[in-house]
């Protein structure tokens, strides 16, 4: 009941609506293009460009049928994307999990320099590397091959995933492994039976990051793939030609690309935020 208390109450009372208005504005700014794409993908051809845009309309799935049934490109691209992203994720984990463990637990010469080098490779702009990558793949006959694209995607995912795994392993007390060693476990048994099960959450988040990175990747895919292996972000451009822009099927495909990312982000929100702060907060 002090004057100070009254004042702060008043500030809170005014503050709350202001806060929510700001939140709403921010949310809409981010969500508007997403909402537009989703709505458009269900609109009939004739509804797409009516002005003012119609919010209530008769939804239709014709664009989805058009994209996935009538054009073979998108279905194939989606399968390619699933294949490439899955393979990239699995192979990335096979490299990043043991590497992250080694960087966080084993002391060896140039450890810090090496782990920093892994991070530094992330700072190079991909566009600068595209020509050498193109030459490497063309000389090794791996242009328009799954192997080639997966290898290149791994150059994007592995360094970041190593760093993610380093932070997860660092959060784990060393005494767990020491205890396992005293209990009779070999280093491998300690890793597989104690360490790895204790970091499943971290491995899961790392897998999600790797999958999304590969799934969303466009620049390398557009240059390094051809008709056989092109991924869905590349294939989607078949709807935009110099003659016509097929907005309906384009947005339908766009929704398909975004859907898994949004679903995963919603479900794994908390764990992923922890991953993105790179161990700045404990648990």
């Amino acid at each position: 009941m002090t004057p100070y208390g009254q004042k702060s109450n008043r500030v809170k009372w005014i503050g709350a609506p202001v806060k929510y208005v700001l939140f709403t504005v921010m949310m809409l700014t981010w969500a508007f293009p997403v909402i537009w794409v989703i709505l458009t993908s269900f609109k009939a051809r004739t509804d797409i460009f009516t002005l003012p845009p119609r919010i209530f309309f008769n939804p239709t799935v014709e664009h989805y049928i058009e994209a996935f049934v009538r054009s073979s490109d998108i279905a194939r691209g989606t399968l390619n994307s699933i294949l490439v992203a899955t393979a990239t994720t699995v192979l990335t984990l096979l490299v990043a999990v043991p590497a992250g463990y080694a960087f966080s637990r084993v002391t060896f010469r140039f450890r810090n320099q090496l782990s920093f080098f892994a991070l530094m490779t992330q700072m190079a702009p991909p566009i600068g590397l595209i020509i050498p990558y193109f030459f490497i793949l063309s000389r090794t006959g791996m242009l328009d091959s799954y192997t080639g694209l997966i290898a290149i995607h791994m150059t994007l995912t592995v360094p970041f995933c190593i760093w993610l795994m380093i932070t997860y392993f660092q959060d784990l007390p060393v005494s767990l492994e020491e205890s396992a060693a005293i209990d009779g476990a070999s280093p491998f048994a300690a890793f597989f039976r104690v360490v790895l099960p204790s970091t499943w959450g971290g491995v899961g988040v790392t897998a999600i990051f790797a999958f999304i990175e590969s799934w969303n990747e466009f620049l390398y895919a557009v240059v390094l793939t051809g008709s056989r292996t092109k991924t869905v972000p590349v294939a989607i451009f078949s709807f935009l030609t110099t003659e016509e822009s097929l907005w309906g099927p384009f947005t339908a495909t766009g929704v398909t690309i975004m859907a898994p990312v949004i679903v995963v982000a919603l479900f794994a929100q908390r764990q992923m935020i922890k991953g993105m702060t790179l161990g700045a907060t404990k648990g």
């Binding site: 005494s175 205890s179 060693a181 005293i182 476990a185 204790s198």
Partner: protein, 366 residues
């Protein structure tokens, strides 16, 4: 079961030496406590015995076997860590049986041992839970259980009680002692808590800066500290230290400050003789200071006046901070003694229990 022998063990990390010339023989079935302030090397010594670190030089024997190059799993020891190090994704049963499974013991046998140990520790009803669902005290028991199931030669405890609240810690202290009486396995126990060391060990090893300061039974460490560090580290509240001067008058020796003049008992006097007219440090434990009651007592050679500054009432006793000239002392008095702050009071020091330390070397003179 087995004893542990440490011979001239050194451990260096880069340029710092964590353990300096550590030699100790621990008997089979003994409960030895390594105690010292943080950074004194006590945990490092325990890790050397466990095999989690390798000694830079020296020899470590468990039983008759030289174990310097032996992997932790082959040393037949078990260890309880400060953070318990329970495997988070395993149930209590899986945690406790892990070492037995690693050693390929038959399933039925494992089941029998784990159940028996769980009953001993009264955690039988928790076997299906995960560590995250347990309270601190329960985790502590599981960690103990995990180390007991294998019936090792030696138990190593690294500050196992320091994550528990005060009440639970006292309860677990007694329980560990009971457990030791029952299992009779050698225990090497590390703590920074001198009270824990005093109450639990058959012998206490006081360490500082990687060096053993004193090894002895708790009472001996308390009553006959070898140097000023041990005297100050063991005992709470800590011993009072007063810079004084040794003076000889009419054949008697006195420890004097500008405001205090205390007679050194004859039994101790011969040790102090070579310090006549030199500086020294007088050490008196708080419980050896009392309020003088007999005013007619003529021999005032064990008395001094002091002003009461602060009175801490601990219920069962009073800790009274007093001041004489520039010296501040703490006296532990019985609860019924009534004093007022700023009051000048006559105190008696039990000089036959007091100590004198060399000012340079800080070694005990008596």
């Amino acid at each position: 079961m087995a004893g542990v022998i440490l011979k001239a063990v050194f451990k260096t990390f880069g340029k710092t030496t964590a353990i300096k010339n550590f030699s100790l023989e621990i008997d089979d079935g003994e409960f030895v406590v390594l105690v010292g302030p943080s950074g004194c090397g006590k945990s490092t010594m325990l890790r050397l015995i466990a095999g989690l670190e390798t000694a830079s030089s020296g020899e470590i024997y468990i039983g008759d076997q030289l174990v310097n190059e032996v992997h932790p799993r082959d040393r037949d020891i078990s260890m309880v860590f400060q953070n318990y190090a329970l495997y988070p994704r395993m149930t209590v049963y899986e945690n406790m049986s892990f070492s037995l499974r690693m050693r390929k013991i038959p399933k039925a046998e494992i089941e029998r041992i784990v159940r028996q140990t769980a009953d001993l520790l009264r955690i039988g009803q928790l076997l299906d839970r995960k560590p995250g669902q347990l309270s601190g005290g329960q985790r502590q028991r599981v960690a103990l259980g995990r180390s007991i199931v294998r019936n090792p030669q030696v138990f190593l405890f690294d500050e196992p009680l320091s994550n528990l609240d005060a009440k639970l810690r006292i309860a677990m202290r007694a329980e560990l002692l009971l457990l030791h009486q029952r299992l009779k396995t050698t225990i090497i126990y590390v703590t920074h808590d001198q009270l824990e060391a005093m109450t639990m060990g058959n012998r206490i090893v006081v360490m500082k800066d990687g060096l053993i300061q004193q090894v002895d039974a708790p009472d001996a460490v308390y009553d006959q500290p070898l140097n000023r560090f041990v005297a100050g580290f063991i005992g709470s509240p800590t011993m009072n230290f007063i810079d004084c001067r040794v003076v000889s008058e009419k054949g008697d020796l006195y420890a004097t400050t500008p405001g205090i003049r205390l007679k050194i008992p004859e039994s101790h006097a011969r040790h102090a003789e070579k310090y006549i007219d030199q500086e020294a440090i007088l050490g008196i434990r708080p419980e050896h200071l009392t309020v003088s009651t007999n005013n007619r007592h003529l021999d005032a050679a064990d008395r001094f006046k002091a002003v009461v500054r602060v009175i801490e009432n601990a219920g069962s006793e009073k800790l009274v901070h007093i001041r004489n000239e520039n010296d501040t002392l703490v006296a532990r008095l019985e609860r019924h003694i009534r004093l007022k702050t700023e009051e000048t009071v006559d105190f008696t020091a039990r000089m036959d229990s007091a100590h004198l330390f060399d000012k340079q070397t800080e070694h005990t003179i008596f």
